[in-house]
């Protein structure tokens, strides 16, 4: 999966959990929770939606790695490189 496809997919999961987000204003390197109005239940919904769409299991220990767009791409990119 190329980075653009993955990025779109991550952003779609994020805006599904928190539809008020303006994805154009998102700072890719910044923690979602420090720049967006999302709570821990939203974040959990986001990760569970990613699992469903990507058909992978994301261990809870890795959740902190998914706390920014850059983090998501850095962590999920290698896992999905052959897909």
């Amino acid at each position: 999966m190329d980075e653009k496809t993955l990025s779109d997919l991550v952003l779609d999961s994020l805006t599904k959990a928190a539809p008020d987000i303006d994805r154009n204003l998102l700072d890719p390197g910044m923690n979602f929770r420090d720049q967006l109005e999302i709570d821990s239940v939203d974040f959990l919904g986001f990760v569970l939606d990613l699992e469903k769409r990507l058909k992978i299991r994301i261990p809870e220990i890795d959740y902190p790695k998914l706390s920014s767009l850059k983090g998501c791409l850095g962590h999920l990119g290698p896992i999905l490189k052959d897909r």
Binding site: P19, D20, D34, V41, D42, L44
Partner: protein
């Protein structure tokens, strides 16, 4: 029905529990004065800030750390009781210089930052009324509460001000000053904005608290009501006796303990146990500016040697998802007591505490209106996992049932459900709902305060939470009024009708779920669903807005047009909807 009991033996950590034997303490309790050993002011008057800070600085606590602040960027900054004394004096002088007096309402919209503590305690020294709001609220709940409070001063950050307050300033005529905690340049477009740190530097660090009556108003906490208008529960300075008493017995706080309450400062827990009780008991408070992250949290316990940890079920259940091994990877041996509040803690979570930290979580029960913990699991008392525990010594709790004629009877039989009620008169009992004395009076029948919570008491005197008597939703420790959410959904141009319920959730207890019918000409679509959710989130904030939304062609209503939320809830949970005799006959209950 009861699960395995967790019995207690000995005193881990070598520190004897403040409450040694529950039954003996209840039997020995003698009268109202037993509620605390709080000294009084020389003139026999009592001020919360004096009890929490000023009385300590004459003795050895002066040099002890009161607040250990953990900033977002890392590191730690200690504020001693002596420094806290001077800083809160400065804030009190600042208010006085601005012409803010006793009874005036000071609102904070802040995270866990030092300015929160200065504002709270400085406000109380000035005998003004402190009211914290939840920073994750959207602009609409914030405006409504500022307006209801008649707020004169707001303390907040520049970002929160710009995003949530500034557009609404014209609708807040009573607001005289906005004190910004992190702004070096105050907008010329905001004539009432001031920069807090600059003002603080100019004020005198000496301040003498004027005589304060125990019944003087001190705290204002908003909580959700069934009508949609939030209720402003008013507490008085005398409440500090109960804060201290309950912190000592129910949370086992000892002088010198490192105490960590993870509650957001916008909720009553963030004030009663996030600020007042541990300071009154001479503890060191962890002030963590960051958000929830289990591994970072374990790191805080390890590094700062936390002794007593007071957290919430949603956080515990999220830690459970991460597993026991991660927690065991940290040195949490400093922990002596774990407690939880916000919604009932499930038995698995109570027991998980033992597996992860070697100590069970102790659930306790209280409300915004009660001001302090009233029913608890104590360090020395056996735990029945899933139970809220037993009433504090001096607190009389009962289960009440309604007779056919509407009068109340006290239920004596074990395990028979009814409404949880508390005999009135404890020091931290709320004294009114701001501007709504009739609504306040309706909470009492005879000597009893009716809590609105359904519960049962077992044969051993342990209380068990069953549910809410009304439609209020308990989600991640927040009490949410369906009506407040529905009102905002109805402001979306495509929405004709809306009904909101609490949908059971394994992590948050309940999540807010909305059912929406559309206006003629509007068709359900994923884009519209997201648009309505986004609309609600922008107005209400993430903590209150629905997490789920489904479209329905019709919503079930009574003949008088009232939305039958319990029917939707019954459908959602697969339970019986109960009496349907008032269902509007021409409303098909179908999607």
């Amino acid at each position: 029905m009861d699960r395995k009991i967790i019995s207690k033996t000995g005193a881990p950590g070598g520190v004897p529990p403040n409450l040694g034997d529950y039954d003996a303490a209840v039997a020995a309790f003698s009268g109202e004065s037993a509620f605390s050993d709080t000294d009084s002011l020389p003139a026999g008057k009592l001020n919360i800030a004096w009890a929490a800070v000023d009385r300590h600085v004459q003795g050895p606590l002066r040099e002890q750390t009161a607040l250990r602040v953990l900033p977002l960027q890392g590191g730690a900054r200690d504020i001693s009781y002596g420094q806290l004394h001077d800083l809160t004096n400065r804030f009190a002088n600042l208010l006085r210089d601005l012409g803010i007096g006793p009874g005036d309402r000071i609102i904070t919209l802040l995270g866990r930052v030092p300015e929160l503590y200065l504002s709270a305690l400085g406000t109380l020294k000035n005998r003004s009324v402190f009211c914290p709001l939840y920073a994750a609220f959207g602009p609409e709940p914030i405006r409504l509460r500022l307006d209801l409070a008649g707020a004169k001063v707001l303390v907040t950050t520049e970002a929160l001000f710009r995003h949530k307050i500034e557009p609404q300033l014209p609708a807040l005529p009573s607001l005289r000053y906005v004190l910004l905690t992190d702004s070096s340049e105050v907008s010329p477009h905001c004539p009432i904005c001031r920069e807090l740190s600059g003002l603080m530097e100019q004020t005198d660090p000496r301040f003498s608290i004027e005589p304060t009556e125990p019944e003087d108003w001190a705290l204002l906490h908003f909580t959700s009501g069934t009508t949609g208008t939030p209720k402003g529960a008013v507490h008085v300075h005398e409440a500090v006796r109960m804060h201290q008493f309950s912190g000592k017995l129910a949370l086992d706080i000892h002088p010198g303990d490192v105490f960590w309450c993870t509650a957001d400062p916008g909720w009553v827990t963030g004030t009663s146990y996030g600020i007042i009780a541990p300071l009154a008991l001479g503890a060191t408070l962890i002030v963590d500016e960051g958000t929830f992250d289990p591994q970072r949290w374990y790191g805080i316990i390890q590094e700062h040697r936390v002794n007593v940890w007071y957290t919430a079920p949603t956080a515990i259940r999220m830690m459970m998802r991460l597993g026991t091994d991660v927690a065991r990877g940290f040195d949490t041996s400093s922990l002596r007591f774990l407690a939880s509040v916000g919604e009932p803690l499930n038995p698995e979570a109570v027991i998980w505490g033992q597996e992860a930290f070697g100590l069970p979580f102790h659930d306790n029960w209280w409300q915004t209106e009660t001001g302090s913990i009233l029913i608890a699991n104590y360090r020395s008392m056996a735990i029945k996992p899933g139970s809220m525990g037993r009433p504090l010594p001096g607190i009389s709790a009962a289960i009440l049932g309604h007779r056919d004629d509407g009068s109340l009877r006290q239920i004596e039989d074990a395990d028979e459900p009814g409404e949880l009620a508390i005999r009135k008169g404890w020091p931290s009992m709320f004294r009114t709902y701001l501007g709504e004395s009739e609504r306040y009076e309706r909470c009492f029948v005879g000597d009893w305060y009716l809590t609105g919570d359904l519960a049962r008491r077992d044969r051993d005197g342990y209380f068990w939470f069953i549910g809410r008597k009304d439609d209020l939703i308990k989600s991640s420790g927040h009490l949410i009024a369906p009506f407040e959410v529905e009102s905002q959904l109805l402001t979306h141009p495509a929405v004709a009708e809306a009904a909101v319920i609490g949908k059971p959730d394994s992590t948050a207890l309940e999540i807010v779920k909305a059912f929406v019918s559309l206006k003629p000409g509007e068709a359900p679509s994923e884009a519209l669903r997201r648009d309505i959710l986004a609309h609600a989130r922008r107005r209400l904030g993430a903590a209150v807005a629905p997490k789920e939304l489904v479209f329905r062609s019709n919503l079930p209503k009574t003949r008088s047009g009232k939305m039958m939320r319990r029917l939707l809830k019954a459908e959602e949970t697969g339970t019986s909807p109960g009496d349907l005799s008032t269902l509007e006959s021409n409303t098909p209950f179908a999607g």
